[in-house]
Structures are given as C-alpha cells and as structure tokens.
C-alpha cells in the first residue's frame, strides 16, 4: 500500500524533470522545480509511515509514527520555498527587460 505512495512520488518527480527539460517557458521551469521538490518531500514523509501510527506528541496512545522525516520535511519545505521565491524574483526581473518568459527569446539561456 505504501508502495503506491512512493510510486506516485517517483512519477511526480519524473514529470517535474521532464517539464524542465522540454518546456521553453520559464514559469513552467519553476513549476517543474516545485513538482520535483514536492515529490521528494512526499517520499520523505511516506518513509515515516507506520501502520496504525499516532502523531508523535507525547504521551502516545499507541505506536507513534517516525518523527524524524517530519522534521526533515519541515526543513526541506522552507529551503525549497526560498529557492522558488528566488527563481520567481529572477524571472520577474528578466521579464521586465525582455517582456517575455520564453526561453528562446532570452539570449543567454538557450541550450
């Protein structure tokens, strides 16, 4: 059952990577990055799953789930958000100059 969650995450990761590779629109590139990031977070969170687990708030009323992936996810979310905010800031800056977010029209970003 948990494998389904992992499979979803891996598929999302690959969709993100594929988007970045073939799309020529900078916003879609950033969307691809966001997809990849969410997929990694999904994998990390799923790895903490325990059948029938309860939230890790003491005292526990049963077997608690693994708290470590939650902590990693919180950390990674914030880091990913900073990256994406920065990417959007760059794109806004570039859009003001070129009036486009199409990669082919922005000279230095081809290839």
């Amino acid at each position: 059952m948990i494998l389904l969650s992992y499979a979803t995450a891996v598929i999302i990761f690959c969709i993100g990577l594929y988007t970045i590779m073939i799309r020529r629109n900078l916003f879609k590139t950033v969307l691809g990055l966001a997809l990849m990031e969410s997929a990694v977070l999904l994998i990390i969170v799923s790895s903490g799953y325990i059948p029938g687990g309860v939230p890790p708030i003491a005292p526990f009323s049963g077997p608690a789930v693994n708290p470590l992936p939650h902590a990693f996810t919180l950390t990674a979310i914030v880091i990913g958000a900073s990256d994406i905010a920065l990417a959007l800031a760059f794109i806004v800056k570039l859009h003001r100059h070129y009036r486009t977010v199409d990669l082919d029209r922005i000279r230095g970003l081809r290839g």
């Binding site: 990055l33 990849m36 990694v40 994998i43 990256d83 100059h97 000279r107 230095g108």
Partner: protein
C-alpha cells in the same frame, strides 16, 4: 569548539551586517576587514585543530547517531586552508574595488564563507544538504550581483540547474535515510554495506549526479561558463577558485565514505566524467573570444583533472586531486583577477582587443604569463607537478586512457593560453575595435589586487619545487590517506 566557531563567526558577521547598515548608512572598510579577519582566523584555527588533532564536535552534546556531529580531519583541514586563503584574497579584492558601500554583498559573502566551512566540517548528510543550500543561494545571488542582464540570466540558469542538483542530493539523502535510518556519515559507511543492491544503485546515482551538477563537470556544465564569466572580477575569482573546490570536497567525502567499499562503479563513472570534462572544457575554451569565458571553460577542464584524480579511488589519487585543487585555486584566482583588471583597463573582454598591454602593464602581463604557464603545465611550476601526480596515480589504477586525455588536454590548453599571451604582447594598433570604450570613473589603485596576484604567482613557483622535499610529500600523502581511510573516520566519530 574551534570547529563550531569556524562556522558561527562568519554567520554572526553576516547577521550583524544589516544591523550595522541600519545604524550607519555606509559600512567602514575597516569593520568589514575586521569581520573578515575574524572569520578567516576562525577557519584557520579549525584547520589547525583538524590537522594536528582530528576532532569531533558534538552539537548539543548529543551522541553522533541522534544529533549532529562536526568532524575535522586532515582532508577537511586542507580544504579549510584553501577556502580561507581564497576567500581572504577575494574579500581583499572586493574591498579594494567596492569599498564599504554594497552591504548586501558582504552579508552574502559572509553567509557563503560560513556555509562553506559548514560543508567542510559537517559529518551529517542532511546537514550537508542544508549548508549546501545556503552556499548555493548565496552563490546564485553573487553571480547576479552586478545586476546586468547577462548576470541575471546566468544567475537564473545557475539557480535552475543548482536546484535540480540539490533536489537530487536531497533524494539521495532520503533514500539513504529510508534504507538505514541514520544520517551520520560515519554510521552510514557501516550501514550501507548491508542494504539491497538496487537501493544502493539509486543512492549512488542520485548523490553522484547531484554533486556533479554542483561541481560543473562536462555533461552538466552549462551554468558554469555563464556564471563565472558574467560576475564581477572578485566574484569570478571566488567562484572559480573556491566554490568549485567546496563541491569537489563534498563529492570526494561522500564518494569515499559511502562507496569505496560498496560500489566501485561510482569511481569508474567519475573517471569517465572527468575525462570528458578535460576534453570538452579545453575544446570549448579554444573556441572562445571572450577572455573570461575562456578562463571559465578552462575551469571545466581543470575540474576534469581533479575528478580523474578522485576516480582513481586510491590514496595517491586523492592526494594528487587535493594538490591539483589547491594549485588550481591559486592559478585560476590569479588569472581571473588579472584578466578582470586588464580588460577593465582596455574596456573590452574580447581577446583581440586586449593588445599592447605588455608596454603599459608589464608586471601584470608577466604575472599572467607565469600563472598560465603553470596552468598549462610547464615543468618548473606547480601545475605540472600536480598533473604529473594525477597521471601517475591513474596509471597506477590500471588504465592509460585518462593519462592520454590529460596529455592531449595539455596541448590544447597551451594553444589557447598562448593565443591570449600573444595578444597581450602584440603592439597596440590604436583603438581599432569599435566597441564603445568603458571609461573608468576614476583611476583606481590596484596595489592590493596586484600584491595578491604576485604572491599567488610566486606560490605557484614555490609549490612547483616543494614536492621534491620529503616532508611536503609526506604531508600530502597523509591527506590522501585520511581521505580513503574510512575506518579511521568511523573510529574518530564513533569513538571506537
């Protein structure tokens, strides 16, 4: 204690810079200088500790498996010394050029310095990722710092590729955590030996791919030439000289600790990537007309040499790689500072426009000649020695192909560096180029920059002779020993 301070002193300086800015509009050069000196001396103190008495610092007092441990051994000390020298030189150049005005630049600089020391000292895989992100975000912004359109484009390109690299590193970390439940690198070295083969393949693919993107090796090097050529001179020197070396360290540390005993294919892959980088980097450099892009592509090639050294998976290869990394730091920082200053003087970065400089700036041109002779690998200089060691160790690992690649690369690099030098020496034909000349606002003093370039050139000569002394050779081989001796590392961290 010293290990923590090497990270915290630069970070505290970075947090204080905005407050100082709010208190007084311009920061004094002296204040930044004091902060820089404090940060660099903290890094040197950590390097000293790591070299003479390898130390583990348990953060929060927790044992290495439940908390985070900082580890300083000889490999980290060698790289700490490298970053301290390199970033000190870059800071001096930046202070000479910008003064105390751009406070955000200095905040980013200190953040970068602290996070580099963090990468070099951390013993925890997730912590490595966190520091890598501070380091990368600061690097994207430093590339974009000049705010020209080329710089912004280069910054965005670097950001997209760098984030993909970071996500692969995070994915590799996640897989490692799922397979073993621990994240301390020393404990992982033991735990990874007993996980399923498929998982190990996925982990090594993710980590090596992510770290290779961050290093800027050939198939995924797109960001590097743009980023290194469109930044300001001091930043270019820092990027090429120091940042790349930190990524090299991370690659070296992770691969040696995790995959030395478990997955030998990783090292074959690194050797192949390295060989392609050497050829690709040199061939692309040959085609460039812009001197800074030429130097940036040359960096791609030099990364290839270092990767070939790492790919030998032997103590000798690791030692040669560290030696070449150190030499490349000296040579490429000197070359970038020289090229930046000379091209600002002439108002163009096209090589054909940089004529007649031998008449007007003989000292700079001779420093450039020494540094480029060294990077090409002319015998009395250090570049020759480290390439020679890399060839020896790769031949010792059983294949001749990397050695042949290195030899071919040397010939190509000689061709393009000679082209630059002949342009410098050829007489000035007046202002034949039609580019609008960049007029410097006022004549600048560049004595600090020149002192740095001169001393780096001198060091190149000294380091070219040093390997003949047995003490020096022993020092360097001990770095290689530390790098490949996983058991000693595990013993150091776990206290067994």
């Amino acid at each position: 204690m010293t290990l923590v301070l090497a990270i915290m002193v630069p970070l505290l300086s970075a947090f204080l810079v905005p407050l100082f800015h709010l208190a007084r509009k311009t920061l004094s050069v002296g204040l930044i200088g004091i902060m820089g000196l404090a940060s660099i001396s903290a890094a040197l103190a950590a390097a000293h500790t790591g070299w003479y008495s390898p130390a583990v610092s348990l953060l929060g007092g927790w044992a290495p498996d439940i908390g985070i441990a900082l580890v300083g051994d000889r490999l980290s000390s060698a790289f700490l010394l490298m970053t301290a020298i390199g970033s000190g030189a870059a800071l001096a150049c930046a202070l000479e050029k910008f003064g105390g005005g751009p406070w955000r630049f200095y905040a980013l600089f200190f953040l970068m310095l602290g996070s580099m020391n963090g990468i070099l000292l951390t013993g925890d895989l997730f912590n490595l990722f966190v520091f890598y992100e501070i380091f990368s975000v600061a690097a994207y912004l430093m590339v974009a710092f000049s705010m020209s359109w080329q710089a912004l484009e280069a910054g965005l390109k670097y950001l997209v590729l760098g984030t993909i690299g970071a996500l692969f590193i995070l994915l590799g970390t996640a897989f490692t955590f799922m397979a073993t439940g621990v994240l301390n690198m020393a404990l992982l070295a033991e735990a990874l030996a007993s996980i399923p083969r498929e998982t190990l393949t996925a982990i090594s693919a993710c980590l090596v791919l992510g770290l290779t993107i961050k290093t800027g090796a050939f198939p995924v090097h797109f960001w590097l030439p743009d980023a290194h050529s469109s930044a300001q001179t001091a930043v270019s020197a820092l990027l090429s000289g120091v940042l790349i070396k930190v990524s090299i360290y991370a690659l070296m540390r992770v691969c040696y600790i995790f995959f030395l005993g478990t997955n030998g294919a990783v090292f074959l892959a690194i050797t192949v990537i390295g060989s392609f980088s050497v050829l690709g980097g040199h061939l692309m450099a040959l085609r460039q007309d812009d001197i800074k892009r030429l130097l940036a592509y040359s960096t791609v090639a030099q990364i290839g040499y270092i990767l070939i050294g790492i790919g030998c998976a032997s103590a000798a290869g690791a030692a040669a790689a560290v030696f070449h990394a150190f030499n490349h730091m000296l040579m490429k920082m000197g070359l970038f500072i020289t090229a930046g200053n000379l091209s600002e003087e002439k108002g163009t970065r096209e090589i054909c426009g940089l004529t007649g400089l031998w008449k007007s700036h003989p000292l700079w041109v001779s420093a450039f000649a020494v540094l480029s002779a060294s990077i090409v690998g002319i015998p009395p200089f250090n570049g020759f020695m480290s390439k020679w060691f890399i060839i020896l160790s790769s031949a010792g690992a059983g294949t001749v192909i990397p050695a042949l690649v290195i030899a071919a690369g040397t010939v190509i690099s000689a061709a393009y560096y000679l082209r630059v030098l002949s342009a410098f020496i050829s007489p000035d034909e007046g202002s034949s180029y039609d580019l609008p000349p960049y007029v410097p606002r006022k004549p600048r003093r560049r004595s600090v920059s020149f002192a740095i370039v001169g001393s780096f050139a001198l060091l190149c000569l000294v380091l070219g002779v040093m390997p003949f002394s047995p003490i020096f050779r022993e020092y360097f081989s001990s770095i290689g020993q530390t790098a490949v001796d996983v058991e000693a590392y595990v013993g150091l961290v776990t206290g067994r």
